[in-house]
Symmetry: C2
Subunit: 108 residues, 2 copies
């Protein structure tokens, strides 16, 4: 694999990495509905605010979400709504897996 391909794939992999955590997926799903401040997201996730803040900075670093400070709060919103289209396919993958496991079990 040449270094140009390597670089291209690493950049792409980083976007997937940003989405590869349950709390970060919850954040994306929630921001798809409406913008939210860190305290609201922290409440939903139920982790330390510093932990949530770090998750947010991973998503922001990947260019998936955006922030805006208003007064004391920082509001985050979904910057690339196209990521929501991922979820259909991910659902399909999981559904297929479940079906296959079910069939395996039913072979007596």
């Amino acid at each position: 694999m040449d270094s140009k391909t390597q670089a291209r794939l690493t950049t792409r992999a980083n976007v997937f990495k940003a989405l590869a955590h349950p709390s970060r997926l919850l954040i994306v799903e929630e921001l798809a509905r409406k913008e939210r401040c860190v305290c609201e997201l922290t409440e939903m996730i139920g982790a330390d605010m510093s932990t949530v803040s770090k998750h947010l900075s991973v998503l922001k670093g990947a260019g998936i979400i955006q922030d805006e400070k208003r007064g004391l709060q920082v509001y985050y919103r979904l910057k690339m709504p196209c990521v929501l289209r991922f979820f259909d396919c991910v659902g399909e993958v999981i559904e297929t897996n479940v079906k296959e496991q079910w069939e395996l079990v039913n072979l007596r």
Copy 2:
């Protein structure tokens, strides 16, 4: 976050995790073109065959690819081609990031 949501998100995150590595993305791209045996993929990636085999088992475990043994070789193929649709959006995300950095640089 209740435990049902937690479970749903963890399952979904695992699909993204499987895609979150440059070699695994190369594998997916290549299998989108045609099925390949482990030795061909190993050649392309340029890592130890045992490493490639482990990457393949991550993708297989996530339900994204499928294998079939024929003689001495094991052939892998893309099982869920819908993941290819991810790439358009990932490209869009990266392009947007690059544009923004470019604009930042050009502010004098």
